[in-house]
């Protein structure tokens, strides 16, 4: 049997499909071409390894099933899964159906997509396909329905806020909303006139033919296919230029990530994959305290990525972020939101200045001779109780200490790096690194998580083990060098962003607290803990706003029934103190008070 | 019936008289002007709430008018004892106690001639500015709108050179208040306040100061103006040190407002001599002590209320009016 696979209404769809294909190929080719040499190498080394297989499995899990969204929000996960996986299955089953009817012959793309239209002359029907196609269509439609609901009542979907979109997105979104209802309409009308169809299209078709006049059906028949084709075409044209780019981009991203690519200190081509893999689902909005506490709603990661993608990023958006990492842990695509924001800031602010910080050259105000170095950090100098507590702990453990900055030192460089002045920050890092080597330390303890993070991530200290004081204290206790006595005190613990989400240190401080008293967890703790609001990463919000965040986050501590809030960051300590009437102590203070 | 003579018909005098009268004591107010109200009459709005000054004065005046208080206008006391007051026309009034509420004198800005008050057209005092507000005609002498206005704090206060060591207390917040009022009238103008210290002692004052800085963008420069000179465009060039940067600073302004201080009345000395009262170093009357007897003089039967003893804000003056009535009642019983 020969079939004609062309009708004029196919044109919008065909044009759309071609535009989309060309745009995608051009984009991906350019991004890959522009990848830094090192990234290209990683890619080549990774392609023919099992990482590619792992990537395929991840693509299935994440791009089709959206497992991570399920984890965050099952209803939202179902919506994405039904749309993505349902549509995928429709396409896949459609192809099989064509093969089943026509055997292995060449059928043009529009032939597959509009098979129902072209296949009205078929003599036999295969009910199993009718059923499956209708079933998957229903599945997609249920997703569309949920998407509509999400737009209208985001709270019903478990989201307080949903993303506000740009014009391109709205066009694509509207087209997408209509694709499947129009498909349902077109196929049902076809069934009404020609018969066939499954439980959905077939039933609607029979009902239509019974209740609607033949002339009306005839009149609606062609236009319905036209509309379906147009909505598909519009969607495809808009896709590469809208957020729907994520549908395809997440796939190469998963592969590249498996090969070890990641955003760098400076902006690079790889960032394109991450930025355009953002579906603007808006999951990052709710965790953001700037949104929930301060009502700032144009700076969250989704908007940041959008602005950066469309090259309309402003300093005030790039800088207005606590970089607490709460959104990053929730991102279903696993985009490195902080790294991207960081390298945007670098692009906007980094000015290499050779003469800068020339005054550091001859500075060395350190004292002591020990192999264990203690770096208080700038902020700890403003929380002298932490400093004296550390002194007592070192003494109790009999540790010989080299005090790097007790008499005033040089900043670790992270605050400057956070502000985007990357190259200048390196000078401070180089200075401190040389200072550490000069004094031959083997262990570097710091009580400031901000310093800790940069020591670990940037300093590359050979032969020097970097520890946060919580890790160090726990080690001393486990080695039996530090004896503490528990006294039944009730503590709650605030996870500093840079220590918890930033450096993955959650258990050590808790273990230390449990050794001296009872630990009562706040509602939001560990990965979910709130930021205190004074993060050095944010240079936009004012003092009143910082205080508001501090008060809102500290409210939870009182509800735990604890007597004391413990934290292990001098900045958090200062800030939480402003937000609560409860006593706030650094971990080291609590330990020093409980020395046996 | 006992009779108390209250010397001075400003807010302190009126408040004192009213509170005594309410206790059934006969009161005579002696006021040198031809109307009651004192210095507050010349004021437009009061810090820090921008309350119209006449709300305070008119209320007190109406209460006095509807009471049995004997008011003698246009005459002043030249001598007093605890039992009598001699008036300028030679009349001697007998009484059972005297409350001295004769207030203060505004510092004459012409003495600080380097600021050019009375010499250059647009150098005015804070009192002149209130007068302008009252008349609703604020602006330059030629009717123009000022583009840059400077306020100078501590004119005639904390200044050994004019023998006024004391702080006049209310000028700082007046300067802030007037700066805001000027900024409201002339939003396009830049306003600079030159100060030595900013002393925001009362409730809401510090908040007002901060509002002036943050919401009204009023520039505060820590440094005393040394001199004002005319420029060829008819503006005033003023010089000061920006002490916070350690650099001299000069700036041309269209208007210079001198925040004049409170000094003691010239006749305090003669009154004090006639009654054997003690004067403070500042020339103000010295109360018996600054704590439990701060409205009593060193002589029984003679009392003080208001700014006759030291610069005070309006609220403080009114409190003293109430306090002195209490002290007088106690004395008479």
């Amino acid at each position: 049997m020969t079939m004609n696979f062309f009708a004029p209404f196919c044109i919008p769809f065909m044009v759309g499909a071609v535009v989309m294909a060309v745009a995608l190929v051009v984009k991906y080719a350019r991004w890959i071409y522009e990848l830094p040499r090192a990234d290209k190498k990683l890619m080549l080394h990774g392609i023919f390894t099992r990482r590619s297989l792992e990537a395929i499995w991840e693509v299935f899990r994440e791009s089709l099933l959206h497992r991570r969204i399920f984890k965050v929000n099952p209803l939202l996960g179902y919506m994405h899964m039904s749309l993505a996986f349902g549509w995928f299955l429709l396409i896949l089953t459609g192809w099989i159906e064509v093969v089943a009817y026509l055997g292995f012959t060449y059928v043009p793309l529009q032939g597959h997509v509009f098979f129902k239209y072209f296949a009205t002359g078929l003599e036999e029907h295969k009910p199993v396909f009718n059923f499956l196609m209708d079933f998957f269509l229903l599945m997609v439609l249920s997703g569309v329905f949920l998407a509509w609901c999400k737009r209208l009542y985001s709270k019903a979907m478990g989201m307080r806020r949903t993303t506000r979109h740009v014009l391109g997105d709205r066009i694509a979104l509207s087209a997408l909303w209509f694709v499947f209802p129009l498909r349902l309409a077109a196929e049902s009308l076809t069934c009404a006139i020609y018969g066939g169809g499954g439980f959905l299209t077939g039933s609607i078709g029979s009902w239509l033919s019974a209740h609607v006049g033949g002339a009306v059906l005839e009149a609606l028949y062609e236009p319905s296919w036209w509309l379906y084709s147009i909505s598909l075409g519009v969607f495809f044209v808009a896709l590469p230029f809208s957020r729907y780019m994520h549908i395809f981009t997440e796939i190469p991203l998963i592969f590249l990530r498996r090969y070890g690519l990641h955003p760098r200190e400076k902006e690079s081509s790889f960032d394109n994959f991450e930025i355009q893999a953002c579906s603007r689902c808006g999951i990052c909005i709710d965790p953001c305290q700037l949104q929930s506490v301060l009502g700032i709603n144009d700076v969250q990661s989704v908007y940041f990525l959008r602005d950066r993608r469309y090259k309309m990023l402003t300093l005030s958006v790039a800088n207005d972020c606590l970089m607490c990492g709460r959104c990053e842990t929730k991102c279903p695509v696993g985009i490195n939101l902080n790294s991207l924001r960081q390298n945007s800031r670098d692009t906007m602010r980094n000015i290499p200045d050779e003469s800068r910080y020339g005054y550091l050259a001859s500075v060395d105000r350190s004292e002591g001779e020990g192999r264990v170095g203690y770096f208080a950090g700038c902020m700890t100098l403003l929380t002298p109780r932490t400093l004296s507590a550390m002194e007592r702990i070192f003494e109790a453990a009999g540790e010989d200490v080299w005090w790097a900055d007790r008499n005033g030192g040089v900043c670790c460089g992270r605050p400057l790096k956070l502000s985007g002045e990357t190259d200048s920050a390196k000078k401070m890092m180089r200075y401190n690194k040389e200072l550490f080597y000069k004094h031959n330390i083997t262990t570097l303890v710091t009580s400031c998580p901000i310093c800790l993070r940069v020591f670990k991530e940037e300093y590359a200290l050979r032969g020097i083990e970097v520890l946060h004081h919580s890790e160090y204290i726990l080690r001393l206790m486990r080695q039996g060098r530090l004896k503490v006595k528990a006294d039944g005190g009730k503590f709650t613990y605030h996870d500093p962003c840079e220590l918890g989400r930033g450096s993955g240190i959650y258990d050590e401080p808790r273990a230390v607290i449990e050794a001296v008293g009872e630990l009562l967890e706040a509602e939001h703790s560990r990965e979910n803990s709130f930021c205190c609001g004074a993060s050095l990463a944010n240079t936009v919000i004012n003092d009143a706003q910082q205080l508001k965040i501090a008060r809102s986050m500290a409210a939870e501590f009182a509800q735990t029934g604890a007597d004391t809030v413990v934290t292990s960051c001098p900045l958090c300590k200062k800030t939480v103190t402003r937000g609560t009437t409860m006593p706030v102590k650094d971990l080291s203070e609590v330990v020093a008070e409980h020395l046996a | 019936m006992e009779r108390v003579i209250v010397i001075g018909g400003g807010i302190a005098g009126m408040k004192t008289a009213l509170d005594l009268n309410r206790r059934g004591i006969g009161v005579t107010i002696i006021e040198k002007e031809n109307r009651l109200g004192g210095k507050v009459l010349g004021w437009h709005r009061l810090f820090p709430t921008f309350t119209p000054a006449n709300e305070v004065v008119d209320t007190l005046k109406a209460e006095v008018a509807s009471s049995e208080i004997d008011v003698r206008l246009g005459t002043c006391a030249t001598a007093l004892t605890e039992h009598s007051v001699t008036l300028s026309d030679g009349t001697v009034l007998d009484c059972d106690a005297v409350v001295l509420c004769s207030g203060f004198t505004l510092f004459d800005a012409r003495i600080k001639e380097e600021y050019g008050y009375g010499i250059y057209d647009n150098v005015i005092t804070s009192a002149d500015l209130e007068e302008m507000f009252n008349q609703g005609r604020v602006g330059l002498k030629n009717g123009g709108r000022p583009r840059r206005i400077a306020f100078l704090h501590c004119v005639g206060s904390r200044d050994e050179k004019v023998c006024q060591r004391h702080c006049s207390k209310v000028c700082c917040v007046t300067g802030v208040k007037q700066a805001i009022e000027m900024k409201k009238l002339f939003p396009e103008a830049d306003v600079f306040n030159f100060y030595m210290d900013i002393r925001m002692f009362g409730p809401g004052y510090e908040e007002l100061y901060r509002e002036a800085q943050q919401s009204y963008n009023i520039h505060f420069i820590r440094g005393r103006i040394s001199e004002a000179s005319p420029t060829i465009e008819g503006r005033l060039q003023i010089k000061a040190e920006d002490t916070l940067t350690g650099r001299p600073l000069k700036i041309s302004v269209d208007m210079l407002v001198l925040l004049i201080g409170m000094r003691s009345n010239d006749d305090n000395a003669s009154l004090a001599e006639s009654a054997g009262l003690q004067l403070a170093q500042s020339g103000f009357m010295a109360p018996r002590d600054l704590f439990l007897s701060n409205v009593r003089s060193n002589r029984d039967g003679i009392f003080y209320a208001g700014t006759v003893t030291a610069p005070k804000s309006i609220g403080e003056v009114l409190n003293e009016g109430a306090a002195v009535a209490d002290a007088v009642t106690e004395y008479l019983s």
């Binding site: - | 012409r110 001639e113 380097e114 009375g118 010499i119 001199e227 000179s229 005319p230 420029t231 060829i232 060039q237």
Partner: protein, 361 residues
């Protein structure tokens, strides 16, 4: 300008019988001025004034440069008084503002700290065998001219007006710092609005200019000038004043301090040579006069007789404006008709820098 308060700052000025103390700077740089002062007093006004050859410098410059100690200068001052006593005079007038400041300061010190006066008497006696009594009145010579300003106006042959337009001449009056800034009560009109020169200008038909830097020091500043490396500070002060007065187009500057007259005059030359900047009309400097010269011109003295050829900034434009008859060819002839030499062409007198320094563009 409304000088509201000057009348509150008055001082007693003797009417006759003056003992005259010369000024180091004035007699060196403006020698005609001191002669003119003596002539005006004795000849025009018929007053008794003694120019005693025995008196000396007050050593004020040395004192302000930390070279002459306080005790020494007090003794020098005491000697001058002693000479005055010896000559039978009681009214001390001094030609120099620095000296005026010194005498005022020394008298005030003796008043406040009588032991210093005793010590001075002892020192003077030990050194010279002299004793002294303090003068009855102390005045600066500009105070004397101010005192007789109306008499001079009566005798005037011309006024401070532009002959061509009939407009009053615009005058910048500059008062030496030590005239009244140390002791405001010692100057006529006080320190903020001194009236000593303004009074002369008012009486003689001119108009004073009140410009922003009116009060500023000329920049002499003793050590600032005496040490070459510091002269940048000195000239910066004159520069500031000149920049500030230039927009008012003054016809001339008059000062009562010899140092100020000298510096406002000579620094104009230097600024013109350094920067090519001049402040007067037609690319010339602004003529700077002593008040004796101003009085002399009003009284009809010959400008070369007054020594006005000694100025760095040429005064001829001013003389022309005032309609003064003078012989241009006699400018550089001394008292006996002898040629006294002529200064090089200077930028401040309208000569281009390119010409003077032969600059190849």
């Amino acid at each position: 300008m409304r000088r509201a308060t000057w009348s509150e700052y008055q001082k007693d000025i003797a009417d006759d019988k003056y003992y005259y103390a010369r000024s180091c700077i004035r007699q060196n740089f403006f020698p005609g001025s001191e002669r003119a002062f003596l002539n005006i007093l004795s000849k025009d006004l018929g007053k008794d004034i003694l120019d005693d050859p025995a008196h000396s410098s007050c050593t004020g410059i040395g004192y302000h440069s930390d070279i002459v100690p306080l005790e020494t200068i007090m003794t020098v001052v005491a000697r001058q008084f002693s000479l005055m006593n010896e000559a039978g005079y009681e009214n001390f007038v001094t030609s120099c503002i620095t000296s005026f400041g010194i005498y005022t300061e020394v008298l005030a010190t003796w008043e406040e700290f009588p032991e210093t006066e005793e010590k001075t008497r002892e020192n003077l006696y030990k050194a010279t065998g002299r004793e002294f009594t303090k003068p009855k009145s102390l005045a600066h010579t500009s105070d004397i001219i101010f005192h007789f300003r109306d008499l001079i106006a009566d005798k005037a042959v011309r006024r401070l007006v532009n002959r061509a337009t009939g407009e009053p001449l615009k005058v910048v009056e500059h008062i030496g710092c030590h005239y009244a800034k140390i002791f405001p009560k010692s100057g006529i009109g006080g320190s903020e609005f001194p009236y000593v020169l303004a009074g002369m200008v008012d009486s003689w038909g001119g108009e004073c200019v009140d410009y922003p830097e009116r009060r500023h020091c000329c920049g002499f500043g003793f050590r600032n000038y005496l040490v070459q490396a510091n002269r940048g500070y000195s000239i910066a002060n004159s520069h500031k004043k000149l920049e500030s007065m230039a927009p008012y187009h003054p016809d001339f500057i008059v000062a009562n301090c010899p140092g100020c007259t000298m510096f406002l005059d000579k620094w104009q030359y230097t600024i013109a040579e350094m920067d090519g900047r001049t402040y007067g009309e037609n690319g010339h400097g602004i003529p700077v006069l002593t008040y004796e010269e101003m009085a002399g011109l009003v009284l009809g003295y010959d400008p070369w007789e007054l020594g006005m050829q000694m100025h760095q900034v040429d005064v001829e434009p001013l003389l022309d404006k005032m309609g003064v008859d003078y012989d241009p060819s006699a400018k550089y002839l001394g008292r006996n008709g002898k040629y006294i030499g002529k200064p090089e062409a200077a930028v401040v007198n309208g000569c281009s820098q390119d010409f003077i320094y032969d600059i190849k563009v």
